[in-house]
């Protein structure tokens, strides 16, 4: 399947900031956090439209998020996912001895997909397996 090599940047957005205050389990939070801002040129190359899903893969994992057209182009080759559980399953945990993982400028591969974006509970279950009874 057609894909694109990009640099992944994660960060704060005002919408994600506001929706986290009304509750991280709220659907609004998922709408804002489980997205990926793409340059319109990159969207053309990938043949995806706004609102479709893409799979973003790094060395550390992959996640499905919804495409959002960037309003501040051009930035070809740079994609942005807001901070949150979706972005964090694919960021670089290495701290290079500083305690600080690398959350910006991560090499990533992006491709269109038909898979669904997981909600928070399913995401936790898929990546972290939930808690089992013995441990409780």
């Amino acid at each position: 399947m057609a894909g694109l090599k990009v640099s992944l940047v994660t960060g704060r957005t005002i919408d994600q900031g506001c929706s986290k205050e009304s509750g991280k389990l709220s659907p609004e939070y998922m709408d804002y956090a489980a997205t990926c801002e793409l340059d319109p040129e990159d969207m053309k190359k990938l043949k995806v439209r706004e609102g479709r899903n893409v799979k973003v893969t790094t060395k550390f994992g992959s996640v499905i998020v919804k495409v959002k057209k960037s309003r501040r182009e051009p930035h070809p080759g740079v994609v942005f996912i807001p901070y949150g559980p979706w972005s964090n399953v694919i960021v670089d945990p290495k701290t290079h001895g500083t305690g600080m993982p690398s959350l910006k400028g991560i090499d990533a591969h992006i491709e269109p997909t038909k898979e669904e974006v997981l909600d928070l509970k399913s995401l936790l279950l898929k990546y972290y397996g939930g808690k089992s009874a013995e441990e409780g």
Binding site: K24, G61, G99, M100, K104, Y127, K131
Partner: protein, 479 residues
Amino acid sequence: MPLISKVVCPVCGCCCDDIEVIVENNRIVDVRNACAMGASKFLNYSKHRLKKPLIRRGGELVETSLDEAIKRSAKILAEASYPILYGWSSTSCEAIRVGLELAEEVGGVIDNTSTTCHGPSILAIQDVGLPGCTLGQIRHRADLIIYWGSNPWSAHPRHIERYTALSEGRFQRSIWRRFLLRVYATSIRKKLQRALALAFRRRAPETEEARRGIPYTLTQEERKLIVVDVRRTRSAEIADYFIKVEPNRDYEVLQALRALIRDETLDVDEVAGVPVELLEEVADVMVGCKLGIIFFGVGLTMSDGKLRNIDAAISLTRDLNMYTKFLIMPMRGHFNVTGANVVFTWQTGYPYAVDFSHGYPYYNPGETSVIDILCRGESDAALVVASDPVATFPGEAVRNLVRNPLIVIDPHPSATSLMADVVIPSTFVGIEAEGTTYRMDHVPLPLKKVVEPPDGLLPDEEILKRILREVRRIKRGAG
């Protein structure tokens, strides 16, 4: 309708202290002066919240009594050999102080959210120092404001309006007129371009500022705003000038500027995607200002180079002080992350990542920082206070965090509380409980209680005190 004024906003590091809250029947009905995030918190805080303590039984979280939740938490912490106590940036200094006592009692590692935020800044500051100031000075005197790797429009929405370019200072005027003119000019230009494109059926020539050189406003003797970032953020749109750096290459630009202000010439055409002529002009503006400040965000601390980026930024500031007055300040995220560093430091001597397992405070970020401990799989329990590491830590760290017993004290349900073994809901500090917070410039401010909390909910400080008492009882019983 009672109006409570001078409320300190418990959201970001700006800690705006001019918020007005209107309360009716113990409910916040309106909030004035707050930014979108602040208003969202004051108006929506009670919509999704935890009201009863939860405990995991048979794989399911079930309601329980507060006493039982506290006993279970104390048992987990007292029995663990290397527990992590994490969070702290969204609670009061008073609660953090109890947390430190608890960490010492259980011989665990206590770390706050600056470990995944401005931890590298702290390391750099410990190496080279920090010429700092309060935000009031910037509001009144700064004529050159630089945001580097920071997007205040989204992360600290009132920072520009209250303290920097859009604020009306005693000696410096706001740039809002210029900003509005530019917005009009840009929109007219875009319309013209669109008309041209339609008329000639081709793309109109690019009018990107970067191609044409530095805008005239930067040569004027008035307050100026420069934004340096890897992507064009909302803040970049307000700026007089935006410098776009390639991801992970800020260090090169900082060092190039250091060379340029010492009048050295660079033998390259561009540094990290920025043409050298532009850097030369920016260096001139920096040297020519009366009082400049660099506000740096996590764009520098989270990219390659980490603390070395901050080191370079502070060194640049130090070099600039040979010519003019220049200052630098980190843009702290959570409302009390500065307070967490301050309280940690006065209690233990170290600002974050403090390990009590030896019986005395030991600090070595990279070894005693929570991400590293989790990635190495060393901890055997965790207490999380007012934070959501399951959502904010890299996947590998989260896997080890949720594998072991996890206690969460938080008013909100979150990804972390879903994965916890004990969840103790607390009151919202700054809304339902009083406390002290530190603004990003180290000014302590009192958080107010504006409404009564729901029955049975206690502040973080009180919950931690009860856990501490119970831990001591268990340890004394065993000894």
